[in-house]
């Protein structure tokens, strides 16, 4: 049982993966690539086979891409991939994943890749619109086709992408947030640039430090800010962050509100590894658990988790190399590294006003992040800029 000299732990025969998206699929691919010959069973509670999420707030929502185009290549034939199958419990002692229909799946190794879901402001019966899965995006796309106006609650990258898409379709758009949009993820230089682009396109941005309350129920017809302003629209969508899907782990001693905590090899417990949006790692910088809910992190963690399951301590530690992107207001932005609070930006080439630029941030004199704005550059190069002087 060995591929290119890899040693695979013979004790790991049956592997169960809980999740139906990029982390789950990448973990299954990596397990096979590293020589795992035992069974792999993937359970996903979605009614679709895996698809890509990033276009759900961009091209697919706009209607320039069809829903068919977001599906990933079919799951591999040497993996038992089950849709509409929800894990509801974990018995770590007996090493079994409990399914909703009562079936128990025994495992030697478990990959937790249950991701995250949209946070909501109201109770389920409020009928609040969010964008997390394919059905959410289809619902919102249909609503846009009939609507004249939109209120987006949340000015993070998801909220601003939805706003940009809707504006492109001709809707009147208002974005409301407690904080100035985008600053947390993009730093003030880029955030202000993007916000200005949004304002130039006629979007209204409302700041409501005290938060907002939904008005109306199924459908929500507007929001009221803590300051008392009523914002009404044909469609109201919440983009107020995501919550890790850890509820099915309740009682197993794993998982909490911050996510499923893993070590430097993506291990959560003996025989249990995790990857993707569900994962929290203790930040080297702050010492606090932190999630990195991005496509690239899900892939990197899934590869690291698969190796750790097969090789334990011999697997190389996972070194986070954050990489994420956004498309909005005609700006195509890719970022490597983390724009730490207080980091100082420098435009290395081009100019933001000319709408094409290369920017680098340094913190205490050390490069921490680099970004391209409407500027093509191989990711490896961008990554080097983000880490070396």
């Amino acid at each position: 049982m060995s591929v290119t000299g890899d040693t695979v732990k013979d004790t790991v025969k049956d592997i169960v993966v809980v999740g139906g998206s990029i982390a789950a699929v990448t973990a299954a691919d990596a397990l096979r690539r590293h020589g795992h010959e035992g069974s792999i069973t993937v359970v996903s509670d979605e009614r679709y086979t895996p698809y890509v999420r990033p276009p759900l707030s961009k091209g697919m929502l706009k209607g320039v891409e069809t829903e068919e185009s977001v599906f990933m290549a079919p799951p591999r034939s040497d993996v038992d991939f089950r849709v509409k199958t929800r894990a509801v419990g974990l018995d770590r002692e007996r090493r079994r994943v409990l399914l909703e229909d009562g079936e128990e799946l025994p495992y030697d190794g478990l990959v937790v890749a249950s991701g995250a879901r949209a946070r909501r402001l109201g109770p389920p019966e409020a009928g609040e619109l969010v964008v997390r899965d394919l059905d959410d995006a289809l619902r919102l796309r249909a609503a846009f086709a009939e609507a004249g106006s939109l209120v987006v609650v949340g000015g993070g990258f998801l909220g601003m992408e939805i706003a940009s898409t809707a504006r492109g379709l001709g809707l009147e758009v208002t974005v409301v947030d407690q904080d100035p949009p985008l600053v947390r993820q993009f730093g003030s230089l880029l955030a202000e640039h993007m916000t200005r682009a949004a304002l130039d396109e006629g979007v209204r941005i409302v700041r409501s430090p005290g938060g907002v309350r939904l008005v109306g129920q199924a459908p929500v017809t507007g929001v009221r800010t803590a300051e008392g302003e009523l914002l009404e629209a044909d469609v109201v969508v919440s983009a107020v962050g995501d919550l890790p899907n850890v509820e099915w782990l309740a009682g197993s001693g794993l998982g909490g509100p911050e996510g499923l905590l893993v070590d430097d090899r993506c291990r959560a417990a003996p025989g249990v590894v995790a990857a993707g949006d569900v994962v929290a790692r203790v930040s080297d910088r702050t010492g606090r658990p932190r999630r990195s809910p991005h496509w690239g992190s899900a892939i990197d963690q899934a590869r690291a988790a698969a190796l750790a399951l097969l090789r334990g301590d011999e697997a190389p530690p996972y070194r986070p190399a954050p990489y994420y992107w956004t498309e909005q207001w005609g700006l195509d932005i890719k970022i490597c590294g983390r724009i730490l609070p207080g980091a100082i930006p420098e435009v290395l080439s081009g100019s933001l006003d000319e709408r094409g630029a290369l920017v680098r941030w340094t913190h205490d004199g050390v490069p921490v992040a680099a970004a391209t704005v409407n500027h093509r550059m191989p990711v490896v190069k961008l990554r080097k800029l983000a880490t070396a002087s």
Binding site: I22, V25, T26, D29, A30, R32, R33, P50, Y51, V52, R53, P54, P55, G59, S69, V70, F71, M72, A73, R76, W295, G296, I299, W325, D332, K334, R376, M377, P378, V379, V380
Partner: protein, 63 residues
Amino acid sequence: MRIIVDETRCEGYGFCAEAAPHLLELDDEGELTVLSEQVAPDEAANAEAAVRVCPVAALRLQS
């Protein structure tokens, strides 16, 4: 088996090139180059993995 890039969709994220470095590469301009359109049998698994990690589903395989 052949690997095909839809250039109008490809955004140059490069996840695919990491999964199948013998088949795909990002060039100095950040454009994706197909090093070998023909996928040898021992590269098939890597090619499939490359197709699956693309966040915009810009790659496909044709047998």
